[in-house]
């Protein structure tokens, strides 16, 4: 431990910051070419069979590896948000993610087989397709596709921005190692403070700016008003322009990043459709598994074993780091008092610690991970594409081994991280890249390995975007164009429509991200929870309940969606008292009775679906029989 270079211990100091060099850039370019190559491969495979099932569903031919490694919710968050939480709050995050121990078995075991069968019987290509045919109701299909288009657009737009920022930061010398997915247009990092020092901004001013580190601002005016409260009038006129310039996150490099990112993703998705999305996702997942393994052994070695790491991390923090409900930096930390008083925007009461995971939330998350995995439209589509029941069975254990090999090691790596790097103010998102640099620095080819791990979020973002692109485009082409505008469209026209819709969606995403809208992020946070709450109960009913009616499914969708939406709106608009639980974010939901909104959404959705189904007259027996009974012998 003691032979660590002090440079790495003093986080965020630009002058001595470990150099990323070209490692990350090489890895990134590698990712881009690999993805395009995979797109081309998928293109050949897609051409077997009809265009629609080929392009949007890979001819229902997903094997076990593809199904297991891509059907789960994995995004840039796995390698940025999650590690940052472990680093910040400690061991308790293991319980936060605890639901993942059963995610493989629930994700495939509950709906898998039956959904795959239903999608064949109904010839469904998309999730709305399935609802429409299962309940024999075009209206239900339309509502489902509108929900999906809405949720996925929001989630995808944000990913474009994350991708662009990762590209930008991979540029050697950018001095940033990682970014938050909800990066605000203006933010001060410790790096920008050192840059200000070079700009000859007086030390006294920089000192006053320190509490702002790590906080984002949506507009220049927000930043300016914050500066006004911290600085004197003189200091303000003298340095304001320089401070604003240094805190700008969206500049020319960002626009280049956005262009390259969008072109790559749209290009390979256009070539290979669903299969391209699935295969790049799989490629990425396998690569990450090895990356995490290497990093695990390297960091355990560096920290002198896990026991030593836990004890050192505990020494660097406080008792909350090894116990529930989690460590609160601002409360227990060495600099807690002054920080707590000057921290802007986050109403913080230094008297009461923030509970990251009280019992109610521990229970909530055990349900949230499991059931949002079952109900999310992206995983429903993958199940529809699975080849046969053997594939589903094998996916269950493949994924369970994979998850154990990714999440538990990531936790251990971040605990070692807290032992080796005691503090990372405002930059906890960088913990994985920093650990990668730190633990591979003496290895031959270490910078390339580090580069690969640095590029991981980019790969994850790319594969997420491409799978959303496929679902969005299938929604536009299948559920809107073919259903309502041109039912007699020829395969050639459908192909053209699919390509056009992808280019269109990509273009809209670029335009939206040139100057991101302030409240977009709020909808994104809501979308991922909301989509699962909307579709979970209706999907279960569609699979297993003969008595379910159209009105019931419709009520379930709308009930679930609006419950989650209103709880998020209550929290975001700050109409409810600040609750001192959960993650510290600018877009918090309202935890009614301290329980996560997703569960309320599912509860309401369940009551509505069952209640309304029972109140309305039973569904057409012939239709139900076609969906539930043995197929007549031919």
């Amino acid at each position: 431990m003691n032979n660590l270079p002090p440079a790495l211990l003093a986080a965020g100091d630009t002058a001595t910051m470990p150099s990323v060099g070209y490692g990350a850039l090489i890895a990134l370019v590698g990712f881009i070419f690999a993805s395009l190559w995979i797109g081309a491969l998928a293109n050949r495979k897609t051409r077997e069979g009809s265009f629609m099932t080929g392009f949007f569903l890979g001819n229902r031919g997903l094997g076990a590896w593809a199904l297991a490694l891509t059907a789960t919710v994995q995004s840039g968050g796995t390698f940025m948000g999650f590690p940052s939480l472990v680093y910040t709050h400690g061991w308790i995050v293991a319980l936060w993610i605890g639901g993942y121990i059963v995610v493989p078995i629930t994700g495939f075991g509950i709906l898998g087989k039956r959904l795959a069968q239903l999608s064949r019987r109904t010839e469904a290509i998309t999730v709305p397709d399935l609802f429409r045919a299962r309940f024999g109701s075009p209206a239900l299909g339309l509502v489902a596709s509108l929900f999906i288009l809405l949720y996925l657009s929001f989630m995808m737009f944000a990913q474009f921005k994350a991708g662009a920022i990762v590209m930008k930061t991979a540029w050697p010398g950018s001095g940033v190692l990682s970014v938050n997915e909800d990066q605000k247009p203006f933010a001060l990092s410790t790096n920008s403070l050192s840059a200000l020092k070079e700009d000859r901004v007086p030390d006294s001013v920089i000192e006053k700016l320190t509490p702002l580190v790590g906080h984002g601002f949506s507009t220049e005016r927000d930043l300016a008003s914050q500066l006004k409260s911290l600085l004197t009038a003189e200091e303000l006129t003298e340095s304001k322009d320089r401070i604003v310039k240094r805190s700008k996150q969206l500049d020319r490099l960002y626009l280049y990043g956005l262009a390259i990112f969008s072109l790559t993703v749209v290009a390979y998705t256009l070539m290979g459709g669903f299969l391209a999305a699935v295969w790049t996702d799989m490629f990425q997942s396998v690569l990450m598994f090895f990356g995490v393994m290497v990093l695990l052994f390297a960091s355990l070695h560096q920290a002198g074993g896990l026991e030593n790491a836990t004890r050192t991390a505990l020494k660097n923090t406080g008792p909350g780091y090894v116990y529930g409900p989690g460590y609160d930096d601002r409360f227990e930390g060495p600099k807690a008092a002054p920080n707590a008083k000057t921290a802007p925007r986050l109403a913080y009461d230094a008297e009461v610690p923030r509970e990251f995971l009280p019992l109610s939330l521990a229970l909530s998350f055990f349900c949230v991970w499991v059931w949002s995995g079952v109900g999310s439209p992206a995983s429903l589509v993958r199940l529809m594409a699975s080849q046969n029941t053997q594939v589903i069975r094998r996916s269950i254990y493949l994924l369970s081994v994979y998850n154990l090999g990714i999440y538990l090691p990531l936790i251990v790596i971040c605990i070692c991280g807290r032992a080796l790097i005691p503090e990372l103010p405002g930059q906890t998102d960088e913990i994985i890249p920093r650990m990668a640099l730190l633990s591979t620095k003496d290895w031959p080819g270490g910078s390339l390995i580090a580069g690969m791990i640095l590029a991981a979020p980019f790969g994850a973002v790319m594969s997420t975007v491409s799978s959303y692109l496929v679902v969005l485009s299938s929604g536009l082409v299948r559920d809107i164009y073919q259903r309502f505008i041109r039912p007699q469209a020829t395969p050639g026209e459908l192909r053209k429509a699919a390509y056009l819709s992808m280019v269109f969606v990509g273009a809209v995403a670029v335009v939206v991200n040139i100057s991101p809208v302030a409240y977009l992020q709020a909808f994104i946070v809501f979308s991922s929870t909301g989509s699962a709450a909307t579709f979970l109960i209706p999907a279960i009913m569609a699979c297993y309940w003969r008595r379910a009616t159209v009105a019931g499914a419709l009520a379930g969708m709308i009930g679930g969606a609006s419950t989650v939406l209103s709880l998020y709106l209550l929290g975001i608009l700050e109409k409810t008292p600040e609750q001192r639980i959960g993650q510290l974010t600018s877009f918090r939901p309202y935890y009614l009775c301290d329980v996560d909104p997703f569960l309320w959404g599912v509860l309401v959705s369940g009551l509505f679906s069952v209640g309304v189904s029972l109140l309305t007259s039973p569904p057409d027996e012939a239709l139900v029989s076609k969906m539930f009974d043995k197929e007549p012998a031919k």
Binding site: L95, G98, P104, I105, Y323, L363, L408, E631
Partner: protein
């Protein structure tokens, strides 16, 4: 009427119920163990097992490994294989999607 129900529906429903049971058991185990061993405890009593805090070991790591084994058994033995049916041949496709 019900005897005519497709076997995939019946086995699927039964498997889904088993899985829900596994989920409930795992959840109760994990949260109870973690809460009893890991909340409101004095830090002096911290016990580490292989470097994990005691509660993480019994409440997360051990059940995780057990769940991997159960997933294996469940996937290998309990899920009934079945014919998922074929899609209609493309000529018969109501929307004329065939190429």
């Amino acid at each position: 009427m019900r005897d005519n129900t497709d076997p995939v529906v019946r086995t699927g429903r039964r498997e889904a119920l088993i899985v829900v049971g596994i989920w409930l058991t795992a959840g109760i185990w994990s949260v109870t163990a973690s809460y009893r061993l890991g909340y409101n405890r004095p830090v002096e009593e911290l016990k580490l097992i292989w470097g994990f805090p005691e509660w993480t070991f019994w409440g997360v790591a051990v059940p995780w490994v057990v769940c991997v084994i159960i997933s294996w058994i469940f996937g290998a033995l309990f899920v009934h294989d079945a014919d998922l049916g074929e899609e209609l041949p493309e000529e018969a496709d109501e929307l004329g999607l065939g190429s």
